[in-house]
Amino acid sequence: MNERYEPVIGIECHVELKTATKMFCGCCNEFGGEPNTKICPVCLGLPGALPVPNRRAIEHIVTVGVAFGSTIAEFSKFDRKNYFYPDMPKDYQISQYDMPVAAGGSVKYWIEDGELRECRLTRVHLEEDTGKSTHAGSTDGRIAGSEYSLIDFNRAGVPLMECVSEPDLRSAQEAVAYLEALRRTLLALGVSDVKMEEGSLRCDANVSVRPVGSSSYGTKTEIKNMNSFRSVERAIASEVARQIAIVESGGRIEQETRGWDEINGVTHSMRSKEEAHDYRYFPDPDLVPLEISPAEVRRVTQTLPELPAQRFERYTARYSIAPRQTAQLIDNPALAGYFERVLALGARPAQAINFVLGDLSRLANETGVAVAESAVTPEYLSGVIALVEDRRITSKVAKDVLARCWHGEGAPAAIVEREGLARQSDTGALVPLVDQMLAAHPAVVADYRAGKQNVLGFLVGLVMKASRGTADPVVVKELLNERLSSG
């Protein structure tokens, strides 16, 4: 991190909304599929076709706006953004210009150490997606050097939500944290699949730098062509470094669009020789305005699910769970739900989280069965945790019992009973075991008496093993100490 200059970053996201049909027509809104099969007069821009907005898409954007604390416009409209491009069926895009559905609000995100931060939103609006073009005839499939292009209009008309943030982000890491928080929230709301690899989440970054302590803004560049969160982080970092280098050597930043080159790890200027687009925005005369009542906004507010940021605060603040562990839970709603049920049964958060993210998650990976769908029900887990808390079994045994339970051997309590795994603290039972171990390992005993105190752990381990983990390690250690010091 440079000490003299700080990055100033804003993110612009396009999110494909999850609806059954497209924004302005009844064609299917589904990823993939045979090219040019999900088309109709409207989304193909045939002469005479007219758009009619999808009610569900509007519900989704209102939900998103409410979730982020934006102001939902009581009155909003659609405008035409006019420009020619082969993947634009009408050579204008229906979008929203000066009266978006949502304005303001913020996205709460958290960084590595768990601190919750906030990035303000400028606006959230609705528009339609374009078709997809593939460029043929060049060596790398990219547009430059291609001979011709092939267009598939399946995606044309898919509902798109554009989220524009204020330039509140101060590092590439923050930018990614912001995106992750945005993504988690949209997933929790069920409004989008938000998969960068499928194109349902796309983003551009606006990047500038300024002297630390300054409140004015430097010239910004727009970074495009970032295809994953990792790309976003690398691209922004690369651009920040580029700009700082220029500024420090007395140069000037050009306001331009730059494309991220994943392979070479740099941004390239995409400056075209044409002037900036004159989009000639005007209200779309084929559509009537949207009126979203305060009552509707209230209804949406009341039916919102708990949002990831709220859940994050609850887990970290109330349950004192570490941010990284919290993040893991939040990314897996089923797991989080499981965890909450275990808590509801009285288990302590620290215990519960360790088992859920530790042993159980490991078992899930090994067996390919999700924790929430395994034989270890929340009741069973909370039972095991209680057994450990009550010192009825050791934590080592708990691991074994859970594994057995997972693999279908029945309820934990029954397993403990059946296998005789109860914690053994009774000295009477343990003394013979200890003596047995000492007798079997005279060399180790000699080492200990010679001054190598750390072999004690080894001996404790042996006794534990011999007892199949049921021996109370504290008692074992005491007994060993006694025996060894008494000569």
């Binding site: 609806t19 059954a20 049909t21 027509c25 009844g26 064609c27 299917c28 045979e34 090219p35 040019n36 099969t37 999900k38 088309i39 109709c40 007069p41 193909l44 009619v52 907005p53 999808n54 009610r55 569900r56 898409a57 509007i58 409209k77 020619f84 491009y85 082969p86 073009s133 593939t134 460029h135 005839g137 547009i143 291609s146 001979e147 011709y148 292009s149 092939l150 267009i151 598939d152 209009f153 995409m270 075209s272 020789k273 044409e274 004159d278 000639r280 209200p283 005369p285 559509l287 009537v288 305005p289 949207l290 009126e291």
Partner: protein
Amino acid sequence: MSDPIIDIRYVAKLAQIALTDEEIERFGAQLGDLLQHVAALERLDTERVAATAQVVESRNILRDDVARPSLDRETVLAQAPQRQGKFFRVPRIIGE
């Protein structure tokens, strides 16, 4: 607004229509003439007048999120000026 000279070249570029020099001159004159007539609108006092957004006063004319049949691809591609397999084909796209 009283300067009715239109940059026809710029406008034709936005509108993606190739014009000959002769057309640029002719249209320049004709549209300049039209704008002279249109300048009459400056005489109207529109200070406190709302622009007509729409003649109809409807709001929220929406459709339910229910699928409707799409067009048959062959029917559509059969009329494409140039197709390649299942795609529409266009000459190379330069820049953005």
